[in-house]
Protein backbone atom coordinates (compact mmCIF):
# COMPACT_ATOMS: atom_id res chain seq x y z
CA UNK A 1 0.00 0.00 0.00
CA UNK A 2 1.64 3.25 1.15
CA UNK A 3 2.01 5.63 -1.75
CA UNK A 4 -0.31 3.59 -3.98
CA UNK A 5 -3.16 3.72 -1.53
CA UNK A 6 -6.46 4.46 -3.21
CA UNK A 7 -6.07 2.55 -6.41
CA UNK A 8 -5.67 -1.08 -7.24
CA UNK A 9 -2.27 -2.67 -7.67
CA UNK A 10 -2.18 -4.94 -10.64
CA UNK A 11 1.47 -5.89 -10.74
CA UNK A 12 3.56 -7.24 -7.98
CA UNK A 13 5.81 -4.39 -6.91
CA UNK A 14 8.71 -6.76 -6.32
CA UNK A 15 8.83 -7.60 -10.01
CA UNK A 16 8.62 -4.03 -11.26
CA UNK A 17 12.12 -4.42 -12.66
CA UNK A 18 11.07 -7.24 -14.94
CA UNK A 19 8.01 -5.44 -16.29
CA UNK A 20 9.43 -4.91 -19.82
CA UNK A 21 10.25 -8.61 -19.98
CA UNK A 22 6.73 -9.53 -18.91
CA UNK A 23 5.23 -7.23 -21.49
CA UNK A 24 7.41 -8.72 -24.22
CA UNK A 25 6.45 -12.22 -23.11
CA UNK A 26 2.75 -11.39 -23.09
CA UNK A 27 2.99 -9.88 -26.52
CA UNK A 28 4.71 -12.94 -27.91
CA UNK A 29 2.39 -15.57 -26.44
CA UNK A 30 -1.16 -14.49 -27.21
CA UNK A 31 -3.46 -17.45 -26.86
CA UNK A 32 -6.91 -17.05 -28.33
CA UNK A 33 -10.08 -18.38 -26.73
CA UNK A 34 -11.69 -20.64 -29.30
CA UNK A 35 -15.01 -18.85 -29.10
CA UNK A 36 -16.28 -17.91 -32.52
CA UNK A 37 -19.25 -15.58 -32.48
CA UNK A 38 -21.07 -14.76 -35.67
CA UNK A 39 -19.76 -15.09 -39.18
CA UNK A 40 -16.14 -14.04 -38.58
CA UNK A 41 -15.24 -17.38 -37.09
CA UNK A 42 -14.71 -18.61 -40.62
CA UNK A 43 -11.92 -16.05 -41.05
CA UNK A 44 -9.85 -17.74 -38.36
CA UNK A 45 -8.92 -20.94 -40.28
CA UNK A 46 -7.13 -18.96 -43.04
CA UNK A 47 -5.24 -17.15 -40.30
CA UNK A 48 -4.28 -20.36 -38.61
CA UNK A 49 -3.25 -22.29 -41.70
CA UNK A 50 -0.21 -22.08 -43.89
CA UNK A 51 -0.83 -18.83 -45.71
CA UNK A 52 -1.04 -16.42 -42.78
CA UNK A 53 0.06 -18.84 -40.05
CA UNK A 54 -0.33 -16.84 -36.87
CA UNK A 55 1.47 -19.43 -34.83
CA UNK A 56 4.76 -17.89 -35.91
CA UNK A 57 3.81 -14.95 -33.66
CA UNK A 58 3.06 -17.24 -30.73
CA UNK A 59 -0.70 -17.09 -31.27
CA UNK A 60 -2.61 -20.26 -30.71
CA UNK A 61 -6.30 -21.12 -30.54
CA UNK A 62 -7.02 -22.61 -27.16
CA UNK A 63 -10.19 -24.20 -25.87
CA UNK A 64 -9.85 -23.15 -22.24
CA UNK A 65 -10.63 -19.57 -21.22
CA UNK A 66 -8.47 -19.96 -18.10
CA UNK A 67 -5.33 -20.18 -20.22
CA UNK A 68 -6.21 -17.57 -22.81
CA UNK A 69 -5.06 -13.99 -23.22
CA UNK A 70 -6.84 -12.76 -26.33
CA UNK A 71 -10.57 -12.79 -26.93
CA UNK A 72 -11.56 -12.40 -30.57
CA UNK A 73 -15.12 -11.17 -31.00
CA UNK A 74 -15.62 -12.32 -34.57
CA UNK A 75 -18.79 -10.76 -35.86
CA UNK A 76 -22.22 -9.83 -34.63
CA UNK A 77 -23.10 -10.35 -30.98
CA UNK A 78 -26.63 -11.33 -30.04
CA UNK A 79 -27.84 -10.92 -26.44
CA UNK A 80 -27.69 -14.67 -25.95
CA UNK A 81 -24.09 -14.79 -27.16
CA UNK A 82 -23.24 -11.74 -25.09
CA UNK A 83 -24.16 -13.58 -21.92
CA UNK A 84 -21.65 -16.29 -22.80
CA UNK A 85 -19.10 -13.71 -23.86
CA UNK A 86 -19.32 -11.90 -20.54
CA UNK A 87 -19.03 -15.11 -18.55
CA UNK A 88 -16.09 -16.29 -20.67
CA UNK A 89 -14.43 -12.91 -20.39
CA UNK A 90 -14.74 -12.93 -16.64
CA UNK A 91 -13.33 -16.45 -16.49
CA UNK A 92 -10.17 -15.41 -18.34
CA UNK A 93 -7.13 -14.63 -16.23
CA UNK A 94 -5.62 -11.18 -16.18
CA UNK A 95 -4.13 -9.78 -18.31
CA UNK A 96 -6.70 -10.27 -21.05
CA UNK A 97 -7.26 -8.45 -24.28
CA UNK A 98 -10.30 -8.10 -26.52
CA UNK A 99 -10.11 -7.68 -30.28
CA UNK A 100 -13.43 -6.72 -31.87
CA UNK A 101 -13.48 -7.94 -35.39
CA UNK A 102 -15.78 -6.50 -38.06
CA UNK A 103 -18.29 -3.69 -38.13
CA UNK A 104 -20.97 -5.36 -36.04
CA UNK A 105 -19.37 -5.06 -32.58
CA UNK A 106 -18.64 -1.38 -33.28
CA UNK A 107 -22.07 -0.08 -34.22
CA UNK A 108 -24.21 -3.00 -35.35
CA UNK A 109 -23.02 -3.00 -38.97
CA UNK A 110 -25.68 -4.24 -41.36
CA UNK A 111 -27.74 -5.28 -38.34
CA UNK A 112 -27.93 -1.70 -37.09
CA UNK A 113 -31.73 -1.87 -36.68
CA UNK A 114 -32.04 -5.53 -35.79
CA UNK A 115 -33.96 -6.45 -32.68
CA UNK A 116 -31.48 -9.14 -31.79
CA UNK A 117 -27.98 -7.70 -32.26
CA UNK A 118 -26.06 -5.75 -29.64
CA UNK A 119 -25.09 -2.39 -31.11
CA UNK A 120 -22.07 -1.28 -29.10
CA UNK A 121 -20.02 -4.03 -27.59
CA UNK A 122 -17.85 -1.67 -25.54
CA UNK A 123 -20.81 -0.78 -23.37
CA UNK A 124 -20.72 -4.33 -22.00
CA UNK A 125 -17.07 -5.39 -22.05
CA UNK A 126 -14.00 -3.24 -22.75
CA UNK A 127 -12.56 -3.50 -26.25
CA UNK A 128 -8.87 -2.90 -26.86
CA UNK A 129 -8.68 -2.92 -30.65
CA UNK A 130 -11.52 -2.81 -33.18
CA UNK A 131 -11.11 -3.69 -36.84
CA UNK A 132 -13.71 -2.24 -39.19
CA UNK A 133 -14.92 -4.04 -42.29
CA UNK A 134 -17.47 -6.62 -43.27
CA UNK A 135 -15.67 -9.05 -43.28
CA UNK A 136 -12.12 -7.92 -42.56
CA UNK A 137 -9.62 -9.76 -44.70
CA UNK A 138 -7.10 -11.95 -42.87
CA UNK A 139 -4.53 -9.23 -43.55
CA UNK A 140 -6.71 -6.79 -41.61
CA UNK A 141 -7.00 -9.22 -38.73
CA UNK A 142 -3.22 -9.71 -38.72
CA UNK A 143 -2.88 -5.94 -38.69
CA UNK A 144 -5.23 -5.75 -35.72
CA UNK A 145 -3.21 -8.38 -33.92
CA UNK A 146 -0.01 -6.45 -34.65
CA UNK A 147 -1.74 -3.36 -33.24
CA UNK A 148 -2.71 -5.20 -30.08
CA UNK A 149 0.89 -6.42 -29.72
CA UNK A 150 2.11 -2.85 -30.00
CA UNK A 151 -0.43 -1.73 -27.45
CA UNK A 152 0.56 -4.48 -25.04
CA UNK A 153 4.19 -3.44 -25.25
CA UNK A 154 3.39 0.24 -24.72
CA UNK A 155 0.86 -0.49 -21.99
CA UNK A 156 -2.16 0.98 -23.84
CA UNK A 157 -4.06 -2.31 -23.97
CA UNK A 158 -5.57 -1.84 -20.53
CA UNK A 159 -9.10 -3.07 -21.08
CA UNK A 160 -8.84 -5.54 -18.20
CA UNK A 161 -7.88 -2.68 -15.86
CA UNK A 162 -10.75 -0.56 -17.16
CA UNK A 163 -13.13 -3.43 -16.57
CA UNK A 164 -12.11 -3.61 -12.93
CA UNK A 165 -12.14 0.13 -12.35
CA UNK A 166 -15.46 0.77 -14.11
CA UNK A 167 -17.11 -2.49 -13.16
CA UNK A 168 -20.27 -0.71 -11.94
CA UNK A 169 -20.72 0.95 -15.33
CA UNK A 170 -20.36 -2.30 -17.26
CA UNK A 171 -22.49 -4.19 -14.76
CA UNK A 172 -25.20 -1.56 -15.00
CA UNK A 173 -25.34 -1.83 -18.79
CA UNK A 174 -25.36 -5.63 -18.64
CA UNK A 175 -28.17 -5.66 -16.11
CA UNK A 176 -30.12 -3.16 -18.16
CA UNK A 177 -30.00 -5.45 -21.18
CA UNK A 178 -30.55 -8.81 -19.47
CA UNK A 179 -32.48 -7.83 -16.39
CA UNK A 180 -31.28 -7.93 -12.79
CA UNK A 181 -29.93 -11.25 -11.58
CA UNK A 182 -29.33 -12.84 -14.99
CA UNK A 183 -26.13 -14.46 -13.76
CA UNK A 184 -27.91 -16.24 -10.95
CA UNK A 185 -30.85 -17.20 -13.12
CA UNK A 186 -29.27 -18.24 -16.40
CA UNK A 187 -25.49 -18.42 -16.18
CA UNK A 188 -25.92 -20.88 -13.34
CA UNK A 189 -27.41 -23.36 -15.76
CA UNK A 190 -24.15 -23.76 -17.64
CA UNK A 191 -21.67 -22.84 -14.91
CA UNK A 192 -22.76 -24.40 -11.65
CA UNK A 193 -20.05 -22.76 -9.54
CA UNK A 194 -21.01 -19.13 -10.27
Amino acid sequence: MGENEGFINYELQEFKLFEPLFKWARKKSLWIVAFCTGCGGIEIPPLATARYDFERFGIMPNPAPRMADLFLITGYVTPKTLKRIIVTYEMMQDPKYVLAHGSCPINGGVYWDSYNVVKQLDKYIPVDVAIAGCMPRPEAVMDGIMEIMRKIESGEANGWKRYRENYEYYRKNQDKLFGEGWREKEAKRWLAWI
Binding site: N107, V110, D113, S114, Y115, N116, K119, Q120, K123
Partner: protein
Protein backbone atom coordinates in the same frame (compact mmCIF):
# COMPACT_ATOMS: atom_id res chain seq x y z
CA UNK B 1 -38.41 -4.82 -88.70
CA UNK B 2 -40.54 -7.44 -90.29
CA UNK B 3 -38.22 -10.14 -89.14
CA UNK B 4 -38.33 -8.82 -85.61
CA UNK B 5 -42.10 -8.54 -85.54
CA UNK B 6 -42.39 -12.06 -86.83
CA UNK B 7 -40.11 -13.30 -84.13
CA UNK B 8 -42.10 -11.47 -81.46
CA UNK B 9 -45.40 -12.86 -82.68
CA UNK B 10 -43.90 -16.32 -82.87
CA UNK B 11 -42.68 -15.96 -79.32
CA UNK B 12 -46.07 -14.78 -78.11
CA UNK B 13 -47.75 -17.70 -79.82
CA UNK B 14 -45.28 -20.09 -78.29
CA UNK B 15 -45.90 -18.61 -74.86
CA UNK B 16 -49.63 -19.04 -75.29
CA UNK B 17 -49.12 -22.63 -76.29
CA UNK B 18 -47.10 -23.24 -73.16
CA UNK B 19 -49.85 -21.69 -71.04
CA UNK B 20 -52.49 -23.83 -72.67
CA UNK B 21 -50.68 -27.07 -71.94
CA UNK B 22 -50.42 -26.44 -68.24
CA UNK B 23 -49.15 -29.79 -67.13
CA UNK B 24 -46.32 -30.94 -69.37
CA UNK B 25 -45.85 -34.56 -70.21
CA UNK B 26 -42.92 -34.98 -67.88
CA UNK B 27 -42.22 -36.72 -64.61
CA UNK B 28 -43.33 -33.59 -62.71
CA UNK B 29 -46.45 -33.10 -64.80
CA UNK B 30 -47.54 -36.69 -64.22
CA UNK B 31 -46.95 -36.35 -60.52
CA UNK B 32 -49.07 -33.21 -60.27
CA UNK B 33 -51.78 -34.72 -62.42
CA UNK B 34 -52.01 -37.82 -60.25
CA UNK B 35 -52.28 -35.73 -57.10
CA UNK B 36 -54.90 -33.38 -58.54
CA UNK B 37 -57.04 -36.33 -59.58
CA UNK B 38 -57.03 -37.57 -56.00
CA UNK B 39 -57.58 -34.10 -54.52
CA UNK B 40 -59.65 -31.96 -56.89
CA UNK B 41 -59.74 -29.00 -54.50
CA UNK B 42 -56.10 -27.99 -55.16
CA UNK B 43 -54.51 -26.04 -57.96
CA UNK B 44 -51.24 -27.46 -59.12
CA UNK B 45 -48.67 -26.46 -61.68
CA UNK B 46 -45.11 -27.16 -62.68
CA UNK B 47 -42.70 -24.29 -62.11
CA UNK B 48 -39.72 -25.89 -63.84
CA UNK B 49 -37.80 -29.13 -63.86
CA UNK B 50 -37.92 -30.79 -60.41
CA UNK B 51 -40.09 -27.99 -58.98
CA UNK B 52 -43.87 -28.14 -58.58
CA UNK B 53 -46.38 -25.99 -56.75
CA UNK B 54 -49.76 -26.54 -55.13
CA UNK B 55 -52.25 -23.99 -53.83
CA UNK B 56 -54.46 -25.51 -51.16
CA UNK B 57 -57.35 -23.97 -49.21
CA UNK B 58 -56.46 -23.77 -45.53
CA UNK B 59 -59.24 -26.03 -44.27
CA UNK B 60 -58.07 -28.95 -46.46
CA UNK B 61 -54.32 -28.55 -45.84
CA UNK B 62 -53.99 -31.51 -43.50
CA UNK B 63 -55.88 -33.84 -45.83
CA UNK B 64 -53.80 -32.76 -48.77
CA UNK B 65 -50.46 -33.10 -46.95
CA UNK B 66 -51.43 -36.55 -45.77
CA UNK B 67 -52.19 -37.47 -49.38
CA UNK B 68 -49.02 -35.83 -50.67
CA UNK B 69 -46.84 -37.57 -48.11
CA UNK B 70 -47.22 -40.80 -50.08
CA UNK B 71 -45.10 -39.39 -52.89
CA UNK B 72 -43.30 -36.57 -51.05
CA UNK B 73 -41.69 -38.39 -48.17
CA UNK B 74 -39.75 -35.53 -46.64
CA UNK B 75 -40.79 -32.21 -45.11
CA UNK B 76 -37.85 -29.91 -45.64
CA UNK B 77 -39.08 -26.63 -44.25
CA UNK B 78 -42.13 -24.60 -43.29
CA UNK B 79 -41.69 -21.01 -44.37
CA UNK B 80 -44.05 -18.11 -43.78
CA UNK B 81 -44.70 -15.01 -45.88
CA UNK B 82 -46.44 -12.11 -44.21
CA UNK B 83 -48.74 -10.30 -46.65
CA UNK B 84 -49.56 -7.25 -44.61
CA UNK B 85 -51.82 -5.42 -47.11
CA UNK B 86 -53.95 -8.48 -47.76
CA UNK B 87 -54.00 -9.30 -44.06
CA UNK B 88 -52.84 -12.85 -44.66
CA UNK B 89 -50.06 -15.24 -43.81
CA UNK B 90 -48.86 -17.49 -46.59
CA UNK B 91 -47.58 -20.79 -45.22
CA UNK B 92 -45.33 -22.72 -47.57
CA UNK B 93 -44.68 -26.36 -46.81
CA UNK B 94 -41.62 -27.43 -48.74
CA UNK B 95 -41.68 -31.10 -49.53
CA UNK B 96 -39.06 -33.28 -51.15
CA UNK B 97 -39.77 -36.50 -52.93
CA UNK B 98 -36.89 -38.87 -52.40
CA UNK B 99 -38.19 -41.41 -54.89
CA UNK B 100 -38.97 -38.89 -57.67
CA UNK B 101 -36.39 -36.15 -56.87
CA UNK B 102 -39.03 -33.42 -57.02
CA UNK B 103 -39.32 -30.40 -54.78
CA UNK B 104 -42.89 -29.28 -54.03
CA UNK B 105 -44.16 -26.01 -52.60
CA UNK B 106 -47.54 -26.43 -50.93
CA UNK B 107 -48.95 -22.98 -50.34
CA UNK B 108 -51.89 -22.01 -48.22
CA UNK B 109 -53.19 -18.71 -46.90
CA UNK B 110 -54.77 -17.92 -43.55
CA UNK B 111 -55.89 -14.60 -42.06
CA UNK B 112 -53.34 -12.76 -39.93
CA UNK B 113 -55.65 -12.26 -36.97
CA UNK B 114 -56.07 -15.35 -34.84
CA UNK B 115 -53.96 -17.43 -37.22
CA UNK B 116 -54.52 -21.13 -36.69
CA UNK B 117 -53.59 -24.28 -38.54
CA UNK B 118 -53.67 -27.97 -37.70
CA UNK B 119 -50.29 -29.46 -36.93
CA UNK B 120 -48.65 -31.90 -39.35
CA UNK B 121 -46.62 -33.62 -36.65
CA UNK B 122 -48.63 -36.80 -37.12
CA UNK B 123 -47.40 -37.00 -40.75
CA UNK B 124 -43.82 -35.78 -40.31
CA UNK B 125 -42.61 -35.70 -36.69
CA UNK B 126 -39.89 -33.24 -37.71
CA UNK B 127 -42.59 -30.60 -38.20
CA UNK B 128 -42.52 -29.98 -34.47
CA UNK B 129 -39.40 -27.81 -34.70
CA UNK B 130 -40.53 -25.93 -37.79
CA UNK B 131 -43.90 -25.19 -36.25
CA UNK B 132 -42.31 -23.97 -33.04
CA UNK B 133 -40.16 -21.61 -35.05
CA UNK B 134 -43.09 -20.31 -37.09
CA UNK B 135 -45.07 -19.89 -33.90
CA UNK B 136 -42.32 -17.92 -32.24
CA UNK B 137 -41.56 -15.58 -35.10
CA UNK B 138 -45.07 -15.04 -36.48
CA UNK B 139 -47.48 -16.06 -33.77
CA UNK B 140 -49.25 -18.77 -35.75
CA UNK B 141 -50.87 -21.39 -33.53
CA UNK B 142 -50.45 -24.95 -34.75
CA UNK B 143 -53.21 -26.86 -33.01
CA UNK B 144 -52.02 -30.20 -31.68
CA UNK B 145 -48.34 -29.33 -31.32
CA UNK B 146 -47.54 -29.92 -27.65
CA UNK B 147 -44.35 -27.83 -27.44
CA UNK B 148 -45.43 -24.43 -28.72
CA UNK B 149 -44.03 -21.63 -26.61
CA UNK B 150 -40.81 -19.68 -26.08
CA UNK B 151 -38.15 -21.38 -28.18
CA UNK B 152 -35.03 -19.50 -29.32
CA UNK B 153 -35.66 -15.86 -28.57
CA UNK B 154 -35.66 -13.97 -25.32
CA UNK B 155 -39.08 -14.00 -23.62
CA UNK B 156 -39.64 -10.32 -24.32
CA UNK B 157 -39.22 -10.94 -28.05
CA UNK B 158 -41.42 -14.00 -28.03
CA UNK B 159 -44.35 -11.86 -26.97
CA UNK B 160 -43.86 -9.50 -29.92
CA UNK B 161 -43.32 -11.98 -32.79
CA UNK B 162 -40.44 -10.02 -34.34
CA UNK B 163 -40.63 -11.24 -37.94
CA UNK B 164 -44.14 -9.90 -38.47
CA UNK B 165 -44.14 -7.00 -40.90
CA UNK B 166 -45.95 -4.72 -38.47
CA UNK B 167 -43.35 -5.22 -35.73
CA UNK B 168 -41.91 -1.74 -35.27
CA UNK B 169 -38.17 -2.20 -35.06
CA UNK B 170 -36.68 1.19 -34.29
CA UNK B 171 -38.57 2.09 -31.09
CA UNK B 172 -37.93 -1.45 -29.83
CA UNK B 173 -34.21 -1.27 -30.62
CA UNK B 174 -33.94 2.16 -29.01
CA UNK B 175 -35.65 0.90 -25.89
CA UNK B 176 -33.46 -2.20 -25.58
CA UNK B 177 -30.01 -1.12 -26.78
CA UNK B 178 -30.06 2.59 -25.95
CA UNK B 179 -30.81 5.77 -27.86
CA UNK B 180 -27.32 6.42 -29.08
CA UNK B 181 -27.09 4.33 -32.19
CA UNK B 182 -25.74 6.56 -34.83
CA UNK B 183 -27.54 5.87 -38.07
CA UNK B 184 -31.05 6.57 -36.86
CA UNK B 185 -32.76 9.60 -38.38
CA UNK B 186 -36.35 10.59 -37.57
CA UNK B 187 -36.97 12.19 -40.95
CA UNK B 188 -36.11 9.10 -42.98
CA UNK B 189 -38.51 6.29 -43.61
CA UNK B 190 -36.20 4.26 -45.79
CA UNK B 191 -32.57 3.40 -45.34
CA UNK B 192 -29.95 2.27 -47.78
CA UNK B 193 -26.80 0.85 -46.29
Amino acid sequence: MDMNEKKVTEKVENAEQVEETKLPDTREGKLVKALIEKAPYVEGNVRRERRVEFNVPAERIHDFLELASETFEMLMQISIVDWLKEGQFEIVYQLWSVSESVHAFVRTRIPREDAKLPTVMDIWPVAETYEREAHEFFGIVFEGNPRLGPFILEPREYEKHPLRKDFNLIPYVKAIYGDDFDRYDESKTYYVI
